[in-house]
């Protein structure tokens, strides 16, 4: 993502409140790193139309991939863990093939239950000393709308040939930024293979729907997925969890980590804590180490 990223960095720096810098986060035991973009302050309307001020956090540029999630689930962060990491519960190893044959390297983690997504954030926080968590619905929507107008997606190329935004009525433009039912061919695709939005975030719409926290504690999935039709792939598109998402888990209690019938459920992470101004990036530990 070399060229679009540099374009975006310039764009983000120009946005109000965009003084904060992007940063990279090494994920212990994983080959890939997290790319974090600052989300400038702004306002977002809730479902009732009321405006809320949000901003001042970092969002991952992509959905969490298997490369990152496996490091957590499979314990690849090694035997000598910093204090606190031991206390984070880790998901069971899934009996189902959670990735459904869609792909592993560079593909978004899916079938993820809310507790597993939250535990990943806790694990990352324990490792890094920064605060990682899932976004709230408003934080997620603000990041998805990215300063554009309307409940849809701003494309990464405001004045280029790519149509600027999905207008919520046709698929024109949406296929430049989102994997959805008409174009996804029944599966997810590698993250960041489509244009980012104006905040530099890829796949906010489509591919996997993404967990955000909710007042009732159950969470919601936002942004629609590769399974959804265009009209359900917007920044407002919201899925409430139901028991149907795990109906095929033959075990009781059903897994809280893995959703046997929700291949559309993924997530991305939010970081609350600014990186130290001149902190060098830690070396990526070799994944070959036990």
């Amino acid at each position: 993502m070399g060229e679009p990223l540099s374009l975006l960095l310039a764009l983000v720096a120009a946005l109000p409140g965009g003084g904060a810098e992007p940063f990279q986060q090494v994920v212990p035991g994983a080959r890939a790193k997290l790319e974090m973009m600052p989300i400038p302050a702004g306002t977002v309307r809730d479902a009732g139309g009321e405006e809320h001020a949000v901003g001042g956090y970092w969002m991952a540029t992509t959905e969490i991939t298997w490369d990152l999630f496996d490091a957590f689930v499979l314990g690849q962060d090694g035997p000598d863990l910093p204090p606190g990491v031991d206390a984070v519960a880790r998901p069971s190893k899934p009996y189902i093939t959670a990735d459904r044959g869609f792909g592993r390297e560079g593909y978004p983690a899916l079938s993820i239950g809310l507790p597993a997504a939250q535990a990943f954030c806790d694990w990352l926080s324990a490792h890094t000393g920064r605060t990682w968590r899932l976004p709230s619905a408003l934080e997620w929507q603000h990041a998805a709308v990215a300063g554009d107008e309307g409940p849809w997606h701003g494309s990464g190329a405001p004045s280029a040939d790519v149509p600027r935004a999905y207008d919520g009525r046709s698929v024109v433009g949406l296929d430049a930024v989102a994997w959805f039912r008409d174009v996804a061919e029944r599966r997810t695709h590698p993250v960041a293979s489509l244009a980012p939005n104006r905040f530099g975030l890829h796949d906010m719409l489509g591919n996997v729907a993404e967990w955000a926290t909710s007042a009732d504690g159950k969470g919601r999935l936002f942004g629609g997925s590769y399974q959804d039709r265009a009209e359900d792939v917007t920044a407002r598109s919201e899925k409430r969890p139901t028991a149907v998402w795990n109906a095929s888990d033959p075990n009781l209690p059903k897994s809280r980590w893995w959703l046997a019938d929700a291949p559309f459920a993924g997530f991305r992470v939010l970081c609350e804590t600014a990186p130290a101004a001149d902190a060098p990036l830690p070396a990526n530990p070799s994944p070959e180490q036990p």
Binding site: Y95, I96, D99, R100, G101, R104, R186, P241, P253
Partner: protein, 456 residues
């Protein structure tokens, strides 16, 4: 025939499994079986004077799957199937299952469906006898696979209807005992439903029905896969004997699980067999080994298998299965015929048939809950007095798995005749009656070495 899903209430959402309560799939199952539409009548009867006699259910093996099967049994009719007795080798396993079920039933207001007082909670290796002897009509056999032959033999002897999880046995002598018990169940008019759940999946049923009706012509090849990740382990705890540690990590020991081709990918092998209308193959050739598991708790199973089954007339089936970390995952089935092909993406779910002439059929219905369907059909068959018996084909699928495994272990091409005559028993002598001793247990972490391992 697709079942109607309804929107779960807020309370049902709180309680995950509660959603299954009235999601009736029984009518679909009844039609599929050609059974009379008895359910609506018995539902009415349950509310009036002529309520059907409650069916008492015993659970043998209180792990996650057993707890699930117990829940499904208690929801196969509206309140006239009662969980009556529970048994497990370990008290903590029984207790967590019991407290979960009691809590979940309380949440949905169905506490009367469970009546398991302390005197009907049995632990230890012999608990299966106590459960079966407690006066149950149906027994759910969901313990560690290697114990199944002993369990099913006793259950049928005592006149119980049986739900029997897969695999039914880990070796051929064990499977012969299961086969004998299944035949005896047929003589006695007892129902026997297997845990090969895909055969109870509405989507799969529709696709296979079309395949068997000639939609893809003559079947030439079947490719199935089970590319999964590694299974978890339970680290050894202080005070655990060898026996306890091994039992709590049974997946990783081939004498208990049968290895993952027989324990997990057996579902793929079963669908292969279904595609071939349960005809026996001529022989199997396979590769396999263990590449990714190491260390003091790795067990003695392979982590990958690739099997080729050769059928009469030149047709072949290919089954690839493995449990590797950080690797591609897939669990799909592909059938190739002379006129077209069928694609089953089990978890998408996506079920399609494409002919080479350009016609396409895609399953568009709502599907069903296959685990509920298994117990629905078991109970419906008992109520209708028309016993079902999955015995023959379930044993055949199980034997196909053992055939592939032994072909990989030995490195030989093994014929169907040879495997039918295998006398190798994997477990210690106590497995014949399902009773072991706790204590020191000689175990090895050596996987079979092809070229050295003998088919016995």
């Amino acid at each position: 025939m697709a079942s109607k899903h309804r929107t779960p209430s807020a309370r049902e959402q709180l309680l995950e499994p509660g959603y299954g309560v009235d999601r009736r799939t029984l009518l679909g199952g009844g039609l599929a079986l050609g059974l009379p539409l008895l359910f609506p009548r018995s539902l009415r009867a349950a509310q009036g004077d002529a309520a059907p006699r409650p069916l008492k259910v015993g659970l043998v093996g209180c792990g996650g799957r057993g707890t699930g099967a117990a829940w499904q049994a208690m929801h196969a009719e509206a309140g006239s199937v009662v969980l009556w007795a529970m048994g497990d080798v370990f008290a903590d396993r029984l207790e967590s299952s019991r407290s979960y079920l009691e809590g979940a039933l309380l949440e949905e207001g169905n506490s009367a469906r469970m009546d398991v007082p302390e005197e009907r909670r049995f632990t230890g290796f012999e608990s299966f006898r106590a459960v079966i002897d407690s006066g149950v009509d149906i027994v759910l056999l969901t313990a560690i696979p290697a114990f199944r032959p002993a369990h099913i033999t006793y259950a049928v002897e005592k006149g119980c209807h049986v739900f029997c999880e897969k695999p039914m046995a880990v070796d051929v002598p064990g499977l012969r005992r299961v086969e004998a018990a299944a035949a005896r169940a047929k003589e006695k008019g007892l129902s026997l439903v297997s845990g090969y759940c895909w055969r109870y999946n509405e989507r799969h049923r529709e696709l296979f029905q079309r395949v068997h009706s000639g939609a893809i012509g003559d079947l030439q090849a079947v490719y199935t896969n089970y590319y999964a990740g590694p299974l978890g382990t339970r680290p050894r705890q202080e005070g655990w004997s060898d026996t306890e540690w091994i039992l709590r990590n049974w997946h990783h020991f081939r004498w208990l699980s049968g290895d993952h081709l027989v324990e997990q990918a057996i579902h793929s092998v079963d669908k292969q067999s279904w595609a071939f209308a349960d005809r026996a193959p001529l022989r199997a050739i396979a590769v396999g080994g263990c590449q990714t598991r190491k260390g003091s708790e790795k067990g003695d199973t392979f982590d990958h298998f690739a099997v080729v089954y050769e059928y009469e007339g030149g047709a072949r089936a290919f089954c690839n299965a493995r449990q590797w970390p950080n690797s591609y995952g897939e669990n799909n089935d592909f059938l190739y015929g002379s006129k077209g092909r069928a694609t089953i993406e089990n978890w998408a779910p996506y079920h399609a048939i494409e002919t080479y002439g350009g016609d396409t059929w895609v399953y568009e219905g709502e599907g069903n809950d296959m685990y509920q369907q298994e117990l629905d059909e078991l109970v419906a068959s008992i109520r209708a007095g028309k016993p079902v018996n999955d015995g023959e084909w379930m044993c055949r699928s199980n034997l196909l798995g053992i055939l592939g495994r032994e072909a990989a272990y030995t490195g030989r091409a093994i014929t169907w005749e040879e495997i039918l005559n295998s006398e190798r028993k994997l477990g210690p002598p106590g497995m014949d009656d399902g009773v072991l001793e706790f204590g020191a247990f000689a175990h090895s972490f050596d996987e079979p070495v092809p070229g050295e391992y003998k088919l016995l």
